[in-house]
C-alpha cells in the first residue's frame, strides 16, 4: 500500500513551546485518516505543515510525492484545505466567493459560474447565493467554506475540524460528501475532536496528545486495545459515575464491581467500548468535554 502523506520525525516549536515532537505518520492513498485529539494536541499544526503554511523545524513531510518545503508549489497543486476559521471574503456574496475561488483554482469563466451554481445547490445555499457572507450564520459560513474547498477535488483533501459548528443535518451531509470523495479515490486527512466522527468516517485513526501519536490503527483495532466490554456505573438518577473497562471474564467483572463503592452507585450496565474509552486508555485522561464556548474558539 502506497502512502500519499508521509511525515517522518516532524518537530515544531512555537516560541519555545514544543507543539510536535518527532512525529511519524503515513496515510495510505485513497483512505480517510482521522487525527483525533483534544485542543492543543497539535492537530492544526500538522495540517498547516502539510498545506505548506508552516515549515517544520525538524523532519520531512511528503504530500503526493513532493516535499512540502522544497516543492511547495507542486504540493499546492495537489491539495485542498478547509481551515478552522472559515477563511471567506465577508464583503462578497456566497456566489462571488465561489466564482473568485474557482477562477483562482484555474477554472474558466463559464466553468466557474457553472461549478459555483452546482455547489450552492449541493450545500443548500441557493437562497443565500446573493447575500454577503458577512451576514451568514456560523453554519452557513462553514458550508460556503467547505464548498470552496470542494470546487475542484485535488488528490489530497485536508479538513481541519470540518464539522465544528455544524448542526446535525449539515454534519451528516458533510459525512456523506467525505465518504463520496474517498470512494472517488481522494486521500483525506481530517482532524476532529468528535470521537464518533472519526469512528464513522475514518479507515484509520491516530490519537494525538501533546504533539505525539499515542495510538494508531483502525477504529476496530483501537477499540480492541481496551478489552471486550465497559462496565458503566450509574447513580439513582441514571447518570454515569464511572466507566470501567473489563476483559469480558466473570472474574474481571467481579474485580471491577469490587472497586465500586455503594454510597452513590445504584445500578450498572455493560456496553461496547467507544472511542472515548480508547482516549482514556491511551492518554490516561478523559477526552475533553466539549462546551459551546470551546466549539467556538477551538484552536487546537
Amino acid at each position: 500500500m502506497t502512502s500519499t502523506i508521509t511525515l517522518s520525525g516532524v518537530g515544531k516549536s512555537f516560541r519555545g513551546v514544543r507543539v510536535l515532537d518527532g512525529l511519524d505518520l503515513a496515510v495510505p492513498r485513497g483512505s480517510v485518516f482521522a487525527l483525533l485529539g483534544p485542543n492543543g494536541a497539535g492537530k492544526t499544526t500538522i495540517i498547516n505543515i502539510l498545506s505548506t503554511l508552516v515549515a517544520p523545524d525538524a523532519g520531512t513531510a511528503i504530500v503526493a510525492g513532493f516535499d512540502v518545503v522544497r516543492d511547495a508549489e507542486e504540493v499546492r497543486r495537489r491539495i485542498s484545505v478547509t481551515g478552522q476559521s472559515a477563511a471567506v471574503d465577508e464583503m462578497l456574496t456566497g456566489e462571488e466567493n465561489l466564482r473568485m475561488m474557482a477562477r483562482l483554482s484555474g477554472l474558466g469563466r463559464v466553468q466557474a459560474v457553472e461549478r459555483s451554481r452546482e455547489l450552492l445547490a449541493q450545500f443548500d445555499l441557493e437562497g443565500a447565493a446573493r447575500t454577503r457572507v458577512g451576514a451568514y450564520s456560523g453554519g452557513m459560513r462553514r458550508r460556503i467554506d467547505l464548498a470552496i474547498s470542494l470546487l475542484r477535488t485535488p488528490p489530497v483533501v485536508f479538513l481541519d475540524e470540518p464539522t465544528t459548528g455544524l448542526d446535525t443535518r449539515s454534519r451528516q451531509e458533510l459525512w456523506r460528501i467525505i465518504r463520496r470523495l474517498a470512494v472517488g479515490g481522494a486521500t483525506i486527512l481530517l482532524t476532529t475532536q468528535y470521537l464518533e466522527e472519526a469512528d464513522q468516517l475514518a479507515d484509520r485513526i491516530a490519537v494525538l496528545d501533546h504533539g505525539r501519536i499515542v495510538a494508531e490503527g483502525t477504529p476496530a483495532e483501537l477499540k480492541a486495545r481496551i478489552g471486550g466490554e465497559v462496565l458503566s456505573v450509574h447513580d439513582a438518577a441514571g447518570a454515569v459515575l464511572r466507566d470501567i473497562p473489563i476483559d469480558g471474564s466473570i472474574q474481571g467483572l467481579r474485580d471491577a464491581l469490587a472497586t465500586v463503592g455503594t454510597a452513590d452507585a445504584t445500578s450498572v450496565s455493560l456496553r461496547s467500548p467507544s472511542l472515548d474509552d480508547v482516549f482514556l486508555a491511551v492518554t490516561g485522561q478523559p477526552a475533553p468535554a466539549r462546551t459551546d464556548a470551546e466549539l467556538i474558539d477551538s484552536k487546537g
Binding site: T52, L53, E73, R78, A87, L92, S105, G106, R152, G184
Partner: protein, 267 residues
C-alpha cells in the same frame, strides 16, 4: 479491487495562466469598493468640502484677489489621493487578520497578488476621484490653462503619486496589528499636505517650518501639478517630483514585499 474502477482520476490543479490571479484580485478589490460606497464618497466629499472651505471661507483672507481656487486645486488633488489610498491600509490589514491570505497561500498562485489587486483598484478608484475633484473645482471657478499634453502629464504624475502612496498604505496595513491600528497609522500620512505649499506659499511659514515644507516630497509634486495646470514653466521641480515618487514607490514596494514575507510567509 473489482473490475470496474469507479475512481475518477484526481488530477493536480493547473498552473494559472499569467495575470489570472492578479486580474481576479483586482476584480475582488473593485467589488469591495462598490460594496462600501460610503468610503468612496467620503474620500471624494472630504477633499471637495475642504476645497470649498479654503476657497470661500479662508480664500478671501489668503488671496483677496479671488484667485485662491487656482492656487489650491493641486493640493486638494493630492489630499484626495491620500484619502482614497488610505483605505488600502485597512483592506490589507483585514485580509491578513481574517486568514483569507492563508487560504490563498495553500493554492498554486502568488499570494502577494492580493496586494497587487488592492493597489490597482486603488489607482483606478483614485483617478476617477481626481477627475471628479477637478470637475467640481472648475465648477467653482478653477480656470486651468493646460494643453491636452499638460493634462496628460498632470494625470500621469498624479497616477505615479497614487501608486507610491497606495503602496505605502499597503505596507502600513501589513505592519499594523489590526485594521483599526492600520487606520490610525495611516491617518498620520494625511497631514503631510498641510505642511507643504498646498494651501499657502511656503515663504509665509515660520522659518523652521519653511525648511520642512520646502524639502518634504509633496511640495515639488504640488508645484509641478500647479505649473502644468496653469501653463507655467515646469522647470527642474518636475525632476524632484518624479524622484520623490520613484523613491517612495520603490521603498514602499520593497517594504511591502518584506512585510508580506514576514506576515504571510512560512512561520
Amino acid at each position: 479491487m473489482t473490475t470496474t474502477d469507479r475512481r475518477p482520476a484526481y488530477v493536480p490543479l493547473p498552473r494559472l495562466a499569467p495575470l489570472v490571479a492578479e486580474s481576479t484580485f483586482v476584480r475582488r478589490s473593485l467589488l469591495h469598493t462598490v460594496r462600501t460606497p460610503d468610503a468612496l464618497i467620503m474620500a471624494i466629499a472630504l477633499p471637495v468640502i475642504l476645497m470649498l472651505m479654503f476657497t470661500f471661507v479662508f480664500g478671501g483672507a489668503i488671496d483677496p484677489g479671488g484667485d485662491y481656487v487656482n492656487y489650491v486645486v493641486p493640493g486638494i488633488v493630492l489630499l484626495c489621493a491620500g484619502f482614497g489610498a488610505a483605505s488600502v491600509a485597512v483592506d490589507v490589514a483585514s485580509d491578513i487578520t481574517t486568514g483569507i491570505i492563508d487560504r490563498f497561500r495553500t493554492m498554486p498562485l502568488r499570494a502577494s497578488a492580493v496586494i497587487t489587486g488592492h493597489v490597482v483598484a486603488s489607482l483606478a478608484r483614485n483617478l476617477v476621484a481626481t477627475a471628479i475633484v477637478v470637475s467640481v473645482a472648475v465648477g467653482v471657478g478653477f480656470r486651468p490653462t493646460a494643453s491636452p499634453l499638460e493634462w496628460l502629464a498632470m494625470f500621469a504624475l498624479v497616477a505615479l503619486y497614487i501608486l507610491a502612496i497606495t503602496y505605502l498604505f499597503a505596507a502600513i496595513g501589513l505592519a499594523a496589528s489590526s485594521p483599526e491600528a492600520a487606520n490610525g497609522y495611516g491617518f498620520v500620512l494625511l497631514f503631510l499636505p498641510y505642511i507643504s505649499s498646498a494651501f499657502v506659499p511656503v515663504d509665509t511659514l515660520p522659518t523652521w517650518l519653511q525648511w520642512i515644507a520646502e524639502y518634504q516630497p509633496l511640495t515639488p509634486i504640488i508645484e509641478t501639478i500647479r505649473a502644468l495646470l496653469l501653463g507655467a514653466d515646469v522647470g527642474p521641480t518636475v525632476w524632484a517630483a518624479l524622484a520623490w515618487c520613484a523613491v517612495i514607490l520603490v521603498g514602499a514596494v520593497g517594504w511591502t514585499g518584506w512585510l508580506f514575507r514576514r506576515r504571510a510567509g512560512r512561520r
